[in-house]
Amino acid sequence: MFIKALLSGIFIGCSVSFCIITNKLSESNEYGNYSGGFRSYAELDTIIEEESIIPFSLFRRQARKKQP
């Protein structure tokens, strides 16, 4: 019982610690990720938006009927 708890505890402790340390490392030592996202270059002119929970084949048939 104790061994199971200990092994699980060590695994979880090391994983969480690894996540925290690498996160801090990224903040400390890594500079300038790519940030030239969509907004830097354009605006999206959305013409049509449809959404549905019905099966795809039915949805597609409906969408085709609505298209000009």
Binding site: M1, F2, K4, A5, L6, S8, G9, I10, F11, I12, G13, C14, S15, V16, S17, F18, C19, I20, I21, T22, N23, K24, L25, S26, S28, N29, E30, Y31, G32, N33, Y34, S35, G36, G37, F38, S40, Y41, A42, E43, L44, D45, T46, I47, I48, E49, E50, E51, S52, I53, I54, P55, F56, F59, R60, A63
Partner: protein
């Protein structure tokens, strides 16, 4: 050619702080466009003079092997490729123990080996430019448009490269000074807990302000897509279907036009604020290095469309309120409307750590720093061990108590802990991978050579 100060005749350089041309000698300042007409006329005269002399940058020379010094000497004396003389007959050495003739080392190659049109032979192409300040013959590569004279240190613009051959349409001038770039990097390094002390007190090996060539694309993109996404999680999740049809006009989508600079590095410098873009003028180059493009638009069209497609998809996915989004069917239509050539600024700062050169970049407009720094292994290991020990003891105690009387809820709780552990491991590995990739980019030899192989 040097841009002369109208007041005292010394060399003018572009000052990022004031946005004007400044004379280091008499501290006079001028608007860049004020001097444009005079500079253009002088440039054209010098171009004609160089063409008459026939030792200007229009005559490229191919030479076999040798250092750049030797190349300059030979280039000054000769204007056509030269095959070295040789004697194909062996030189007999009677003192040799062998009974076959001994070949003199210098004559060991045959005529064919010196064929200057042979593609396998190592050659070096260089262009010779005459400094208008001191008259020195300076060797420059195929793409340099602005540099410093290796002999007198004066900033010099290779007029014909940017006046006629490959004239940019736009430029974003430097607004970050060299001192500010160094200061910004030092401040950032000092904040880093895992940055080694040797790096925090680094000695700068080289700082270069370089205008990087870019192609700016205007692209029209239209697509109609059927998408699938998941709303909710676990037992409450549902699959939804979406239809999106949209137009998009990309303006000034930037693509790096230099073969030597790594594309990942130049992409990370983005975004540049194109509202500050100005019509190109030669004066902005003075005091900085600059390269003309060596990648044509025909080589970049595919990449530009790929970027436009990815950005479009990112925008469409943002309109879908679901996760695990997949495109089921689409019908894209696109057109490249125009391409324009521009130069954008960046500071390159090189230092050494454990005998490896690292190059950090600073966006010359926005002060964004690009790079990955090596970490202090001892600090990282100690921090990891301390945090892991504390969390392990805490979790072990909780689990031990819970396992005394295990029921269904207890097992669910334990599975949640284990799930957090696995997720943490995954996130940690992803973070470490990104840090290693950044470090690899910063120590890339091509970036170091991009900075190193320049005059002063």
């Amino acid at each position: 050619m040097i841009i002369d100060c109208p007041a005292c005749g010394a060399g003018l350089m572009f000052d990022p702080e004031s946005g004007k041309m400044k004379c280091e000698a008499c501290e006079s300042t001028f608007e860049p466009y004020e001097l444009e007409d005079d500079f253009e006329k002088r440039g054209q005269k010098e171009l004609q003079h160089e063409e008459k002399k026939n030792t200007g940058s229009s005559s490229g020379l191919k030479l076999a092997g040798g250092a750049i010094g030797a190349a300059v000497e030979q280039a000054v004396e000769q204007t056509t490729p030269v095959r070295p003389t040789f004697n194909p007959e062996p030189v007999f050495n009677p003192e040799s123990d062998f009974d076959h003739p001994v070949y003199d080392h210098a004559n060991i190659y045959s005529q064919e080996d010196y064929n200057v049109t042979d593609d396998n032979e190592e050659t070096m192409e260089c262009n010779i430019y005459t400094c208008t300040s001191c008259g020195a013959e300076v060797a420059i590569n195929d793409v340099e448009a602005s540099t410093f004279c290796s002999f007198c240190g004066q900033p010099t613009v290779v007029f014909n490269r940017v006046a006629s051959q490959k004239k940019p349409k736009y430029i974003i001038p430097f607004s970050v000074t060299k001192e500010r770039a160094i200061s910004v990097i030092r401040q950032r390094l000092n904040k880093g807990f895992y940055v080694p002390e040797d790096i925090k007190n680094f000695e700068i090996e080289r700082v270069r302000g370089i205008y990087i060539p870019f192609w700016l694309y205007d692209i029209y993109y239209h697509d109609s897509q059927y998408l699938k996404g998941t709303v909710g999680s676990g037992k409450n999740s549902h699959t939804y279907y979406y239809y999106r049809e949209a137009d998009c006009n990309f303006t000034k989508l930037t693509l790096d036009a230099s073969k030597q600079l790594n594309d990942e590095t130049s992409q990370r410098l983005e975004p540049y604020e194109t509202k500050d873009i100005k019509e190109f003028s030669l004066e902005y180059l003075s005091g900085f290095y600059a390269d003309t493009y060596d990648v044509n638009t025909s080589q970049l069209d595919g990449l530009a469309l790929s970027r436009a497609r990815n950005l479009f998809q990112e925008a469409v996915n943002n309109t879908v309120n679901a996760h695990d989004i997949r495109v089921l069917k689409n019908n894209p239509d696109f057109k490249i409307i125009k391409t324009e050539y521009a130069m954008f600024p960046a500071w390159f700062l090189t230092f050494r750590y454990e005998n490896i050169p690292y190059t950090l970049l600073v966006n010359g407009q926005t002060e964004k720093i690009i790079g990955g720094i090596p970490y202090d292994r001892a600090k990282v290991t100690t921090s990891f061990a301390i945090i892991a020990a504390i969390i392990s003891v805490f979790i072990t105690m909780i689990l031990y108590v819970m396992l005394q009387d295990p029921d269904e809820d207890t097992m669910k709780m334990i599975m949640t802990f284990v799930f957090f552990g696995i997720t943490g491991l995954g996130i940690g590995l992803n973070n470490l991978k990104k840090v290693k990739e950044s470090m690899a980019l910063t120590s890339l030899s091509s970036t170091n050579n991009y900075v190193k192989n320049r005059g002063k």
